[in-house]
């Protein structure tokens, strides 16, 4: 008999523990490489641009895509660098991101939530993208943002104006540079008061979906706060093409202002119908009847033609601004495509650069590291003046433009004019504002995925 303390079982145990110990650093290394979804491994990194390429917003999607391609060129050191030259952060050097060349794939949202989720899912799972950017609808943005949160991908929203995107539907993995409905109301109301007076009666026509509801709620609150009365709010189905039966009763209601909480084709048709009915030629309550379109886009203004002349609205950005960032972007975009960029193109371009900058500052593509770098980030030189990416809700705070349809346009792009640049302080609100989900709204926790 041997009194040896070594037994077969003991040797196996020791060997297993020792082996695991030796392997530990490797496990940690491998683990850190695959600790988040689609961690880039080769010499390239891929972005996913999810924009409407078919459907009624295809032209807007095309403009976003143009800007996104331009951003990729600038990130890879091609072209004149655009806003990289004016951006206050100097982390990006035009040599890709963290030494990796940037590539991109595109998806077609069709401006439908289910189609947008499907194309985003495909880009995440098949193409291995690390970030999704783009879109022209709040319904789509909320849906894709939710998907990105589940998948562990950063979502840099495109054109989405509903309060809900960074309100009750805010997500830790989602970031919005574009302004929102509350900001439109806060910026527009004082200008409307100056132009039309404090004693006005407003009639609202509102697109019956998330953006329309929050837009109407915001502009109603802002205008009532300055003395206007709200006569009625009528919800119109999104599929409506002829608004005559909704517009005809407006004059009978005693209202002297019509607020069209419509976007895109809805806005073009409702404004056209309202002008056809001669609303703007009428005198009601002893005042000239007026129309307001809280959210403008260049393509909408072009589609509405001369009907927009003299009509107030708001925008996130406009190519006519004179700051260095805007001029650099307009020059790059204009020389490449022969046209000025839209505000949806601008927000997609800026979002792409902001993501790349955050990765570089974080030194990692890990979405949680990127989110941390974006939260509370203050920057300038991107066309909107000093801007803050607020940590509490991932909403950018910056100046807002109040626009008016130009009375005597000189060319096809000269449809709107900047009436006022509303300072950022005037459009700020608390993160737990009731219109943004109140105290219950929460970002949740960042999801790195895999």
């Amino acid at each position: 008999m041997s009194n040896s303390k070594f037994t077969r079982r003991g040797v196996l145990k020791t060997g297993a523990v020792g082996g695991a110990g030796l392997a530990l650093p490797t496990i940690f290394t491998a683990g850190s490489a695959a600790a988040f979804t689609n961690a880039p491994t080769g010499g390239t990194v891929k972005f996913g641009f999810n924009v409407p390429q078919t459907g009624p917003y295809a032209d807007e999607g095309m403009d976003e895509l143009r800007a996104q391609e331009l951003a990729i060129e600038h990130l890879n050191g091609i072209g004149d660098g655009g806003m990289l030259n004016t951006f206050s952060s100097k982390a990006l050097g035009g040599d890709g991101i963290l030494g990796k060349k940037v590539e991109f794939v595109t998806g077609d949202t069709q401006t439908k939530s289910d189609a947008a989720r499907a194309s985003a899912k495909s880009m995440i799972e098949k193409d291995g993208v690390v970030m999704i950017n783009g879109g022209s609808s709040s319904g789509v943005a909320v849906a894709v943002q939710g998907l990105c949160q589940e998948a562990g991908i950063i979502f840099m929203a495109g054109l989405t104006h509903s309060n809900d995107t960074t309100g009750k539907d805010r997500k830790a993995n989602g970031f919005r540079h574009f302004f929102n409905a509350y900001m439109s109301g806060a910026a527009l109301a004082p200008v409307l008061k100056n132009a039309y007076g404090a004693d006005r009666r407003a009639y609202h026509l509102t697109a019956d979906y998330t953006w329309g509801w929050t837009q109407q709620e915001s502009i109603q609150a802002a205008t009532e706060a300055m003395g206007w009365e709200t006569v009625n709010n009528v919800l119109t189905p999104l599929a409506t093409t002829d608004f005559s039966s909704y517009i005809a009763p407006v004059l009978n209601s005693g209202a002297d202002v019509l607020v069209l909480n419509h976007y895109g084709g809805n806005m073009i048709n409702s404004l056209t119908n309202a002008v056809q009915f001669g609303l703007r030629d009428k005198i009601v309550n002893g005042k000239q009847f007026e129309i307001v379109v809280p959210l403008y886009s260049e393509l909408m203004a072009a589609g509405a033609g001369e009907n927009v002349q003299g009509v107030y609205g708001s925008m996130n950005w406009n190519w006519q601004l004179q700051d260095a960032g805007t001029q650099a972007f307009v020059k790059s975009f204009g020389e490449k495509y022969g046209r000025p960029p839209s505000n949806s193109a601008h927000t997609c371009y800026v979002q792409t650069l902001l993501y790349a900058d955050a990765v570089t500052r974080a030194g990692s593509f890990n979405p949680c590291a990127v989110a941390e770098a974006l939260e509370g980030f203050e920057f300038d030189g991107m066309g909107n003046g000093p801007t803050l990416y607020r940590a509490d809700d991932h909403q950018c705070f910056k100046d807002v433009l109040v626009m008016k349809g130009k009375e005597n346009p000189t060319n096809e792009y000269d449809t709107l004019e900047v009436v006022e640049v509303t300072p950022r302080a005037q459009v700020e609100y608390a993160p737990n504002h009731p219109m943004f989900g109140g105290d219950e709204a929460s970002l949740g926790t960042c999801n790195p995925g895999a």
Partner: protein, 343 residues
């Protein structure tokens, strides 16, 4: 009372568009037995005929204005339409302004040619195929046509205004003893209603009072017997396809100032027009017109505020709801004939 009158007026122009499209649809179904899902695309092509004429009349030459700058800071390229240069700014401007009415002249031959091409090039091969095949092929054709239009004109709506003389609205309220602004109705919508009345009357008169129309009606009733009499009924039916295409096209031309044309507008009208045809009675021309106006007016009524408050969302389903009720009560539709689509 004034609100009811207002919605009746609103329903008339909606009904006009439905009636014109449904008339063409039912004409094709009655003559050729084809369920044409590309008919909405013909309406859309008609609207883009107006856009095309507006663009042709607005063709411009470019001069450089050194005193103004473009968005890149270069000297501004100013476009001046040739017609303004040839006839002076006032007359030239007026010609451009009248591009929609002028487009009628352009649209008639174009739409007849498009109709012939569709019928001879594709649809004639599906006469003896089941209705499901016809629906699939014509729906596919509609998608191809709208994508072609999108390729050439873009996805954004294109504003195509009415002549200045028809801008603004007429105050019916004052005329009927109500207060000012209580019942107003845009001039162009009145023009559209009158125009559709003329077109509908013209089609009925053509079928009723011409030898050609008599043969077509005979063919619709009994195609085989008319063929046995030595009459080439197929050729006449092909011509009727062209006529139906022209009716849909003209409806589209005149609709352009009401809502800015976009590539998708045909699809917006297609489903509703089919409901109109079914409610009116498959193959019945008067039924299509009657149902078009009836459903247009009902749709307007359903968007009245107090009705929406009472039944939220009713404005989205009213046409389908009424269609169900009518078809339950009269399975052949309001004026449907026995034996049509009942085999």
């Amino acid at each position: 009372m004034d609100a009811i009158l207002l919605q009746i007026l609103n329903g008339l122009d909606k009904g006009s568009a439905y009636a014109l499209i449904a008339l063409g649809l039912t004409l094709i179904f009655g003559t050729l037995g084809v369920v044409n899902f590309a008919h909405g695309a013909l309406f859309m092509i008609g609207a883009f005929c107006a856009v095309t004429v507006q663009r042709i009349l607005s063709l411009s030459f470019v001069t450089v204005d050194e005193t103004q700058k473009d968005f890149l800071g270069n000297a501004l390229k100013v476009k001046t339409p040739y017609v303004e240069s040839w006839f002076g700014p006032e007359t030239g401007g007026m010609i451009i302004e009248w591009s929609v009415p002028l487009a009628i002249i352009f649209a008639i031959p174009v739409m007849v040619a498009v109709g012939f091409a569709m019928e001879r090039g594709l649809i004639k091969y599906f006469y003896k195929r089941p209705h499901a095949d016809q629906i699939l092929v014509t729906f596919g054709l509609a998608i191809v046509l709208q994508e072609l239009v999108k390729y050439f004109f873009g996805a954004n709506p294109i504003q195509t205004g009415a002549p200045d003389v028809f801008k603004g609205s007429f105050d019916f309220g004052v005329m009927l003893g109500f207060n000012a602004n209580e019942i107003i109705y845009p001039y162009w919508r009145m023009v559209y209603f009158l125009f559709s009345g003329i077109i509908i009357s013209g089609v009925f008169a053509f079928l009723q009072f011409t030898t050609f129309g008599m043969v077509v009606r005979a063919g619709m009733a009994d195609r085989e017997t008319v063929g046995l009499l030595g009459i080439n009924i197929d050729r006449r039916f092909t011509i009727m396809f062209g006529v139906a295409a022209a009716v849909a096209g003209l409806a589209g031309v005149m609709y352009a100032p009401i809502n800015a044309p976009n590539y998708h507008m045909g699809m917006d009208f297609l489903v509703l027009s089919f409901v109109v045809v079914v409610v009116g009675g498959m193959g019945s021309l008067p039924g299509a017109v009657l149902a078009g106006f009836m459903l247009g007016i009902l749709e307007s009524f359903s968007s009245m505020n107090w009705i929406k408050d009472l039944l939220p969302g009713i404005d989205q389903i009213i046409i389908y709801l009424v269609a169900i009720v009518i078809l339950l009560a009269r399975p052949r539709g309001l004026m449907g004939r026995k034996g049509v689509m009942e085999d």
